[in-house]
Symmetry: D2
Subunit: 351 residues, 4 copies
């Protein structure tokens, strides 16, 4: 950590600051330039980061040098983490596709959609039972009933299932039904919820917050890792911007950016990113070309009747074509899209 | 609600769409322009809003006409809601100031700061016991111990106290100690938490999310109101932007904008908005000049030793001067800053 | 255009509004719903758009229905425009790659870099002679001397050349040397400059402004088209955001979004988008996968000595590998990257 | 400037970097921490800033320490610059109000509005003759005819006049008619135009760009100052954001933020910031409370007939009330709103 002093910082200011830093057990390195004096703090930056050095008299700016996350960083873990869930493998050159309806609207509807989703190439089935909705007056999901249908459908098809958990009180319940837990964008900084899923050992798909930086995203992953759950999958799903013709602005550069900074797998949700079915396919292709370890795609066989997010759902045929595109683009990059009859292993094992 | 059809929409597309709309019990109004056909839907827009009309073949765009919140709107409630907590009154031309440390760091520290905060003019005492922190490795608050100190200090000084609640499981606990509940910016769309504090009848200070629109902010308030808690205070605390010299961009126009759309009181948190003590005072003055019904200000007597957010805390003397400025600016606008010996009434009563 | 009236709009308000609309020669369509009255304006929306209907008493909101650009729209021109410059062809399933140094730093340097750039697969040579720099104290480009080197180098290699024009007074000069004109992001809404290059018939690469919406981007293209120059190439180069680990946030969805709304070709500049050489390749691949009609890439053989934007430049070998990736990804989508010995045609012809 | 090296930087990397830095004439300061080696560069940072150190092998990050502007900084000029134009004085505790129509629509209209504007308290008359319009199909201003009316009207009333200049070729013309020149938000980084008005000695109102940081804003002011024109007035007018209920997000904290970093006066344009007449007054009051040195307000006597930006114009009576509010709020802060019969001095003189 580097502390830049104001031009007019007095000797007393400097002494008081150094005394505090030394009192915390750090060594310092003082550099007097022509226009500014700079103090380098040598030692564990995490502890130093909690100190309000900016509030000291004479201090102009505090510049952290190290990343504020550890377990999530490449420095801690150079190789790729591969998160496994049944046939699905995310990371380490393997790409897995997750598909299904945004919300479980009923048993029959789920089975009707899930079959073609599996045939198209999905190796994980998605479906929301608890839905975070901006308005209190819209459909909020079927709750436990939805979880039961999802489990039943996953079992029937031999697919692991993923669903969102929104409340610390629901984690136990959702864990009983689902193979992977999803944390939605609006909960990326719901720290009690992160800690709670950190106590689980099931893989967690953590969605990027609407206006979260890459650094904050990795700090949220750190909350989960710090509780002992190593199976975190990061999901880029677009960030908020001024652009009003798409729901969110899909940050394709976040994929290689995250993978450079972290060993965790990174997948993309082109459906919630764009909110427009006509843009889902090109954005999904782009994600794969940028190195994504997976896709999470809304599929519905009658989008005009969907209870949630119909305008962004792909028809099963379009989803199948997308899976094929993904396979071919991944090949160009020397990567492999995991097929539906891929190597089946225990859920959540880590390579 | 208005539905704009694509130039090439077929007769079948239009018929299918109208059939669905009529099937939902709405009347329609068809207008064929030179370049577009437009369908007006007549009837309750809330229900129509849940329908995925954008996913219908032939539909170009769906334009809602009404606001997606009701109880929070001026149309539902033309006069100002005044939220009362002990001496504090927010709304209806009365302005109340909340002050105190960002986090309760200990009993002695809280009492030491709270006295001058009250003398300066604050009518509510703030202090965090559960702190949402970006990193899992920083101070997370004293928890229930902090709540006890806060209650004790509020009782000693005759001030109502406000503190943040972060988890649905904590609401009961926090409610036992605090007079007002605070929902932090990162939880503005934590819908289970909103519903939970909606079951309380204590006033709730709801902070605007980091990238929430005014409309979404009011929809989150609607979650609380819809559960029967009418005592919602909206708090503008800055939104995320590209500007890197301040922590957040304080949206001063949101104050009159919210007050025009809603009857709920609106307060401002200049401390978290800017993250810089040197900007807190001018931004707080601006908030009052823009019509804010209150301020929420971090105060610390030794910011260089604060465990949380020291760089943004005001010293008690600066806080006292700010309270005086606020009083005089409010006067210019014909409004009144509630004094420490104001009219004392029951907490949470609604005018 | 649709005008939504306030709930309390009086009969006089409505009459005054209708009188004005009819006075402008429009027909109207009145729809009285349960909660709002709505006026549909039938006729040319462009003229209506200039009217300040929102300032009329009783008006709540004005909703335009049509796009505010015409010549740039797919409705005006259903097929793809193909912009041709020597061997390069942008649009209609053909993809062309532009490479070269960010700035022309000298004659020898340009020739040294341009050879490998051509060999790698570039069909247009880029190089800045007039550089827009945030600070007045940094290198501003070689000016006309740079233009001469660029022309000379393009002639020697048989490559068309593109360079930026920043000032209306420079257009004539730059046109004498360059085959394509580039308008930088900071000038996307420099309307006199847009009009001036609209008087040229040379292809114009128009970069998206730092915070321009897709709609505004197309309106700026409209300025050029409206002056009679049909050869506009849109260039996505990232937009400003809160994310601080990349220079700009590359909006990959803008590529299919623009191509759906407009017939104009769309290329991508991954170098200025990210500002980081390590992200240029994955972002460039993503752009091609999303359907870009070309790439504009900074190449330098010694980035550590570059006078401008060294940190984002690719080495020639990395650029060659990227060209090969682009070729293979384009193939997956049934598109073709134009080779250096492609079909040579007149510059700027339009298919 | 500080350079942070990668954990794995080799001795060769460090030596090569140091050699280059020393070759440029700088001294260095090397600090080897536990996890990173850091190089401090001692000497003129402006020159170092142009070097692409981030492109050197082994370099992780480059951290500038000093501001990238000089003449605009408080370090260069500790006292407030006061810009004078006739009776108007901006800065040093004096506040001046500019009013008038967004566009000069005709001679009669301008005279009709300007009288009440002066009476209300404006000491400068505004009116656009060249209008930057997003669409090429809307009213672009009366050009020189508008300038003539503006001059004539200013002379008749004894008010200095300000108008926008959009093109380097127009500067001479506009300078002949106007007392102050305005650079619009879309031209904040039109560097040739900044240089051109820098050659003038007339006061320049420089509007903040739609997505410009405070630092970039001051760098653009630096372009003007560096050419010898010291009379720069900064104008905050809102920045682009995700919020869709206002045109721009007015950054009230930028006012004290700019004034802390720079000696230049800062004014506010609440009209273009919000785009909504109902928000102009509270935002303008907030700007004064935050320390603004002036206001720039759209006034029209029949907003429903305005050719440009009618929905944001104040009626003369509302403008007069606002001027009175501004006077009283300024008084609270110990500042003075310059009256119409203020101390008249030469235009552009600098205190």
């Amino acid at each position: 950590m580097i502390i830049v002093l104001k031009p007019g910082a007095s000797k007393e200011d400097v002494d008081r600051l150094l005394e505090r830093i030394h009192g915390l057990g750090y060594r310092t390195h003082l550099s007097r330039g022509e226009q500014r004096t700079i103090v380098g703090i040598i030692g564990d930056e995490d502890k130093a980061r909690s100190e309000p050095f900016e509030a000291f008299p004479g201090v102009e700016r505090v510049l952290p040098i190290l990343t504020p996350y550890k377990l999530a960083s490449r420095e801690a873990h150079a190789g790729d983490t591969v998160v496994v869930a049944g046939p699905a493998r995310f990371g380490g050159g393997e790409v897995s596709i997750i598909g299904g309806p945004c919300a479980v609207e009923g048993r029959e509807m789920l089975f009707r959609i899930a079959g073609p989703v599996k045939e198209a190439g999905a190796v994980v089935l998605r479906g929301g039972a608890f839905k975070p909705r901006t308005s209190p007056y819209t459909f909020q999901g079927l709750g436990e009933e939805g979880l039961r249908y999802l489990r039943e459908c996953g079992d029937a098809l031999g697919l692991p299932v993923v669903t969102e958990v929104m409340d610390t009180r629901q984690v136990g319940l959702v864990e009983r039904y689902a193979d992977l837990l999803q944390i939605g964008a609006r909960n990326m900084q719901n720290f009690p919820l992160l800690s709670e899923v950190g106590e689980s050992r099931k893989p967690v798909i953590l969605k990027r917050g609407l206006s979260a930086t890459v650094k904050e995203f990795l700090q949220s992953a750190e909350y989960i890792l710090a509780r002992g759950n190593p199976n975190v999958i990061l999901c880029e799903r677009g960030v908020r911007s001024f652009e009003d013709s798409v729901r969110n602005l899909f940050d394709v550069s976040a994929i290689p950016n995250l993978k450079k900074a972290s060993h965790l797998p990174v997948i993309a949700d082109p459906s919630h990113a764009t909110g427009r079915a006509d843009l889902v396919v090109p954005v999904a292709r782009a994600a794969i070309a940028a190195g994504a370890d997976g896709l999470l795609v809304d599929v519905h066989d009658d989008p005009a009747k969907a209870l949630v997010d119909g305008p962004q759902a792909l028809l099963p045929a379009a989803f199948a074509a997308l899976c094929e595109d993904a396979r071919r683009i991944a090949e160009v990059l020397g990567r492999t899209v995991v097929g539906p009859v891929g190597s089946v292993g225990p859920v959540g094992a880590r390579v």
